[in-house]
């Protein structure tokens, strides 16, 4: 029983990372219409930024997190402005942006390799809360609690921002059609920057938190998050962050339990199988909304 509950929490925390990453990834997909292959590198770079902030400047934990979050956000903005902005006016649809994102993926990935000396690094144990919280028979690492809470806060915050505020409406509007939004007076460029930043920052947060709690800061960090975060987005229905959050958590839990009780070799296969079955049974995901264009 104790093992079961501990694994449940392990899975939940792991899934929270997937979800957090997925929220950022899904945000660009649903609002800006970009299937961004480079998104994983934002997480890698965020972790790297956080790591060097600690390593070089010995900053405290919250500052390291902030460095990762801001780093991820800024990187997303830069990529957007160099890679995606020039394509917007030219109406290339999803494909053009997909390819520039692949280009950025290649570039940022190999630069991240150089930045880490191709090594897998880790935050020094003293630089973050690394104790176990003891709750009766349960022992839970502090980082897991932080991760779980971070997802909760981000999900609620971003959901409210997008669905209930004017800025959120503007974000959705710009994603649909910049000109249409601008006709209402929306500064599409600013909104895009904001969206990109938010998406990069959220995934960046997943990157630093993941880098810290798994003792693994490397240029491949983002790729793992990308595959699972992507799955969370698909299952959750990409235009609703709540769906992504729930799906991500479930994914983490399923993964841990499959590995614990069934087989590690089939862990990923099992997860993706579930994903596919789910998609075919419910093509729009958990919360995916109905179409808004007429047939």
């Amino acid at each position: 029983m104790q093992l079961f509950v501990e694994q449940l929490i392990n899975g939940w925390a792991l899934g929270s990372l997937y979800a957090l990453f997925g929220i950022g990834f899904g945000l660009v997909f649903s609002t800006l219409g970009i299937l961004n292959a480079a998104h994983g590198t934002y997480a890698s770079w965020a972790a790297i930024a956080g790591y060097y902030a600690v390593e070089r400047f010995g900053v405290p934990f919250p500052v390291a997190i902030a460095a990762g979050v801001i780093g991820g956000g800024l990187l997303a903005v830069v990529v957007d402005q160099i890679g995606f902005q020039p394509l917007r006016a030219k109406k290339t649809g999803m494909l053009g942006a997909l390819i520039t994102s692949i280009a950025f993926w290649i570039i940022l990935d190999s630069l991240a390799g150089f930045a880490t000396g191709q090594q897998s690094l880790a935050f020094p144990a003293a630089s973050y809360p690394n104790q176990m919280v003891v709750m009766g028979p349960l022992r839970v690492p502090q980082m897991q609690i932080i991760t779980i809470v971070a997802l909760l806060v981000c999900t609620i915050g971003i959901h409210l921002l997008i669905q209930k505020t004017r800025i959120g409406a503007a974000m959705r509007a710009v994603g649909w059609n910049e000109v249409a939004a601008a006709l209402g007076g929306v500064n599409a460029r600013m909104v895009i920057l904001l969206t990109a930043f938010l998406a990069g920052a959220t995934s960046g947060l997943a990157g630093v938190l993941g880098g810290i709690s798994t003792s693994n800061v490397s240029f491949t960090l983002g790729e793992g998050l990308m595959l699972k975060g992507f799955a969370a987005v698909v299952v959750g229905g990409y235009d609703d962050v709540r769906g992504t959050a729930i799906a991500g958590i479930c994914l983490g839990i399923i993964e841990v339990f499959v590995a614990q009780y069934i087989s590690t070799s089939f862990r990923d296969g099992f997860t993706y199988m579930l994903l596919l079955a789910f998609l075919i049974a419910r093509p729009r995901g958990l919360f995916g909304s109905a179409s808004f264009v007429r047939a």
Binding site: P141, G210, N216, G224
Partner: protein, 357 residues
Amino acid sequence: APAAGEYGVGFITENTGPLAAAGVSYHRGAQLAVDEINEGAWIGQGVKLKLNEKESGSDAARAVQALTQFSADRNVIAVTCCILSPVAAALKPVTTNAKLPLVIYGATLPGLPQPPYVTSVVGLPGPQEVKMSKMLAETLKPKTVAYFVNADNEGFQNRFKAAQKVMEEAGVKTAGVVSILSADTDFTAPATQAMATNPDLIMVWTTQTPAAGIIAALRARGYAGKISASDVISPAPVFKKIGAALAGVPFPIVFSSEISSSPEAKKFVEGYTKKFGEAPDTYSAQGYTSLYLIAQAMKSLDGKPSREDLAAALGKASAVEYNIYGGLPMVNGQAEVQNSLVAAWTADGKVVRWENK
């Protein structure tokens, strides 16, 4: 000795991609060997080797392209490559067709070498693992062991099986086997799983990043028992990353810059440290050795040696004569492990012979 001149050796690098961390070490080891060989006129007066690099990123298709380009380059007389067995396997037919000798410096799938064109300077796993397991069974006297193993890496599965066999023969029960995948990064759940079996010893038979992550996760979750691992945790960056949690974890190793004490090893460590500002690791040692094997074969030839001649000489080698392992016999183009040690990190980051404390 062959005629004076510069002879190219193609080196397929893996300085980027998933194995770049080790790839850089292999590359550096080879660079150092070439420097030494040239400076000391090791092959013969005026005979120089030149390293031609092409990157593969551990991708088989890129490696094949690199190899065919080397084979088109008349100055290249031999090629050395490959950390991954599948990549090496993909190069095998190409290099045999092109009659270009290939020395494998990293991949350990049994059966890869095929003299004369394909030879390998890396010992197959087995003996070191057996030796360490016996030692651990005797000194620690564990009743149960839990194992971590890569579900997707045949090499480590073999090591795990060798170790498990020794342990069970010594009457040590298997408490549990936890599988992980090479690309995994989160090990809290596997650590929880292993700790739940309450073992006396945990043996970690996985690739580098998982091994480091598993040990870190076990200690972070408060596991205080014994852990052992493989030589993947021997490079300095691993200690730098994980720190004191690694201390006292035994691992088998054939070369250690701090323990190996033959004159060749000392010279290697000195030269490497001078050139690259850090001590060599087990991978740099392998890259280094592969170049010396080629040089040794060159040395035995006269005139203007052809690729075929060189291949024949490589295939005939019964040992790598100049090596830093204190002996490295070769059987059928395959190097064999002779002198392995059991080592461990100290809490302040030194590698020493392991003792049960």
